[in-house]
């Protein structure tokens, strides 16, 4: 059965009991005269893997920037675990459980892989300035635990051997993976991935797919991902939302989306396919 009402929430069975991790109601933002996102509604279950797709310039990245409070919405609200994020900034949103990767990779390129992950673990460490300057026991303890944790997280992508390499010198695919690790380090409840497979070859993409599933299973978190690679989206997402010109045009399971005439039209009409 095709669910044509884009507003209807649609959660996996296992998440029905729990609060949704994210709820957007009537979200919208204007840049001057341009309405980049309008009337965007989405509900994501606590452990759901959800896809956000749409042609180039549809406003997908803008949605991420709204969720992470890089932009404040012009209209509508965002609820994280039921809490309104109205007065939050990016840092507070992160502490409230949102972590993200970037479409154009934003690693701390001059720092090592380990340092990148440790910066992700910043708020997991608890020693204060005095603890650092005088090297108090809580400094040593927190640093040791953080380093162990960082290696553990890196081992998801088998990157622990590269811990002391400069992150900027890693190959492109590894940089994307490191961004995911860094985001995971902040201990999120919702992980936002902006085109994680961009620039990866098919083998790497397959790997990434299984790793996304693995992350969802081991950390029991929700993942919202933007992706143009349809094989990945269809293979890993339980629910998919489709944006076109800033508006939600369809929501549903992969099978429903594949057969949705509006979606097909949006992609063909935009003159592009999934190879954009």
């Amino acid at each position: 059965m095709v669910n044509n009402d884009p507003k209807a929430p649609l959660l996996p069975e296992r998440d029905k009991e729990r609060n949704p991790v994210l709820e957007c109601v009537g979200l919208g933002i204007d840049f001057g005269g341009l309405t980049a996102v309008d009337d965007f509604n989405i509900t994501i279950g606590a452990t759901e893997i959800c896809g956000l797709i749409g042609p180039n310039g549809a406003g997908k990245t803008t949605v991420f920037n709204l969720l992470t409070k890089v932009y404040q919405p012009t209209r509508g609200s965002i609820y994280l675990d039921g809490k309104d994020t109205k007065h939050m900034n990016t840092v507070r949103a992160n502490k409230a459980g949102i972590a993200r990767t970037f479409q154009n990779i934003r690693l701390f390129k001059g720092l090592t892989v380990m340092e990148n992950v440790l910066i992700g673990l910043h708020n997991e460490m608890d020693y204060r300035l005095g603890g650092a300057l005088f090297r108090l026991p809580n400094y040593w303890k927190a640093e040791r635990i953080a380093r162990e944790r960082a290696l553990e997280l890196l081992s998801i992508f088998d990157m622990q051997d590269f811990a002391e390499h400069k992150s900027g010198s890693l190959p492109y695919g590894s940089q994307r993976r490191l961004e995911i690790v860094r985001a995971l380090a902040t201990n999120p409840t919702l992980l936002l991935l902006d085109e994680p497979a961009a620039g990866m070859n098919p083998a790497e993409t397959d790997d990434l797919m299984s790793n996304i599933k693995k992350i969802q299973e081991t950390f029991q978190i929700a993942i919202l991902l933007i992706e143009h690679d349809m094989s990945l989206v269809m293979g890993v997402c339980e629910g998919i939302a489709v944006l076109n010109y800033g508006k939600l045009i369809a929501k549903g399971t992969p099978a429903e989306i594949q057969n949705n005439p509006k979606v097909i039209e949006a992609y063909l009409g935009a003159g592009g396919g999934d190879d954009a």
């Binding site: 900034n89 934003r106 701390f108």
Partner: protein
């Protein structure tokens, strides 16, 4: 995993000990050179050596903001001025007895400058882009004009005179060490990484939950604090303050030190401060071309090494030592090859245990004689024999006490060497103690500059130099029984060769 496990590291306490030892040695050597009367150093040179220290503090503190935080302030001289005048006024007021006044004045100078840092930093750092440069530039000029016009308090354009000259070598370089250590401890912590993350990518830093404004203001404030302290030392070095010393060009001079040394490199800032500040020393007569020469240097460095002399590289002694232990087999092998014949020379065909016993006894005897020598010196039998200098009896006695301490340590290592020669685990402990002896060695050299002690050290020196290496091979031999295979198997990282 393999990569990490195989990497041998120097235990942290030992790293800290090595560094502390070297720093103490630096202070002592520097003090002896500049003020100990051993060398003919004039007042002008002394002042420049002190000035180098002051500019090192200024450079490393500015580097915190430009190099590590990635912002561009142009008013560092303003904070320096605030500190200089705070301390100058406090010291001349005679508010406290001299010794206490000196320390309180320094801290006060830092605190007042830091308060200015917070006041300027909060509005300026909230905005992205070049606002900080503009606002700090304005701040520097305003401070200078204020100082000129508040002549009732600051002495105005005539200058603030009669400031006690507190800034001797020891005080300034202790401040240098504290400043560098402070920044090092800060940067190698989650707070320092937060500061670096802002330089690297502010948006990503925020998305990692880092309060960017907070950390910007923190770095800026620490930087202002240290600039204030440097200003105070500057006041205590010259004895007179003029507003003209804190103009825009002074800020640019400090910035140039940082840029030349490499933004983000503390070692670079130190080296470059030393070079640029001592330049006038080597080019008297060329002084009117100072700016031209500086500018040329800057252009040359920017052409050939745009990231500055050292880029973002920071020197770490322990890291270098670790590299030596882990990767640099050429050096390691060379030292070992050198050690083996030496060892054979000492005791032909010595099996490991006996060797350990031998070095243990030797070490204990040498240490005992050092102790004895020092005690003799302490009780001033030395002058009777004509071997002790008479100029610094107090200082020498201090050295003798240190000498006895290091001697006692040697005795302990020696005794342990004899006691635990059968125990491989304990032999490992000895290895650690032997590493300690390397830095104590540098120290001891200083300590025993008197004739009697020197003889003893001449005997102890080669043993001490070679001891760590010998201890190592000695202990390993207990494990694997054939020494040549170890010394000629560089790829296998020593240690656990099976039987």
């Amino acid at each position: 995993m393999t990569n990490l496990n195989r990497h041998k590291t120097i235990p942290t306490p030992i790293r800290y000990l090595i560094n502390t030892g070297l720093l103490i040695a630096l202070i002592v050597v520097g003090h002896i050179i500049t003020e100990g009367g051993l060398f003919q150093i004039g007042r002008a040179q002394q002042r420049i050596i002190v000035e180098i220290g002051i500019f090192i503090i200024l450079a490393v503190s500015l580097n915190l903001v430009t190099g590590y935080l990635g912002q561009l302030p142009l008013g560092h001289a303003g904070f320096m001025a605030v500190g200089a005048y705070t301390a100058g006024i406090f010291w001349t007021s005679g508010f406290m007895p001299d010794g206490a006044s000196m320390v309180v004045g320094l801290i006060l100078a830092g605190i007042v400058a830091a308060i200015f840092g917070i006041i300027i930093g909060i509005p300026a750092l909230r905005l992205r882009g070049d606002y900080l440069a503009i606002i700090t530039l304005g701040f520097g000029e305003i401070i200078r004009i204020l100082i000129t016009n508040l002549s009732g308090i600051t002495g105005g354009a005539q200058g603030l005179q009669g400031i006690p000259r507190h800034s001797n070598f020891i005080l300034v370089y202790i401040c240098v060490i504290i400043a560098c250590t402070l920044i090092h401890m800060l940067m190698k912590s989650r707070h320092g990484r937060a500061i670096l993350s802002i330089r690297e990518n502010e948006i990503a830093a925020e998305s990692c939950g880092i309060k960017t404004t907070y950390y910007k203001v923190m770095a800026f404030t620490v930087s202002a604090f240290l600039a204030g302290v440097a200003g105070a030392l500057f006041a205590g070095n010259l004895g007179i303050l003029e507003p003209a010393s804190f103009g825009f060009m002074q800020s640019i001079d400090i910035l140039m030190i940082v840029v030349l040394g490499g933004m983000g490199s503390m070692a670079g800032a130190v080296i470059s401060a030393a070079i640029l500040t001592s330049l006038p020393l080597f080019m008297q007569g060329l002084n009117q071309y100072r700016l031209v020469i500086f500018a040329l240097m800057l252009i040359v460095v920017m052409i050939f090494k745009p990231s500055g002399l050292l880029g973002t590289y920071d020197f770490s002694l322990s890291r270098s030592l670790e590299r030596l232990i882990n990767r640099d087999y050429k050096v390691k092998n060379f030292v070992r090859k050198l050690a083996i014949p030496l060892k054979r020379l000492v005791i032909p065909n010595a099996p490991g245990r006996n060797f350990l016993k031998f070095t243990g006894i030797l070490y204990a005897v040498v240490s005992l004689s050092i102790i004895a020598g020092s005690i003799i010196g302490m009780f001033n039998i030395g002058p009777l024999l004509g071997v002790l200098p008479s100029r610094y009896p107090g200082a020498w006695q201090f050295f003798f006490i240190l000498n006895i301490i290091t001697g006692a340590y040697g005795l302990i290592v020696g005794t342990l060497g004899m006691l635990f020669r059968k125990d491989v685990g304990k032999a490992k402990l000895l290895r650690v103690l032997a590493i300690l002896s390397i830095w104590l060695l540098a120290f001891k050299y200083l300590v025993i500059l008197d004739g009697a002690g020197l003889l003893v050290v001449l005997i102890a020196l080669p043993i001490e130099l070679v001891l760590p290496i010998l201890f190592k091979t000695g202990a390993e031999k207990n494990q694997s029984a054939h020494i040549t295979s170890i010394s000629e198997a560089p790829g296998k990282d020593g240690g656990n060769h099976g039987e």
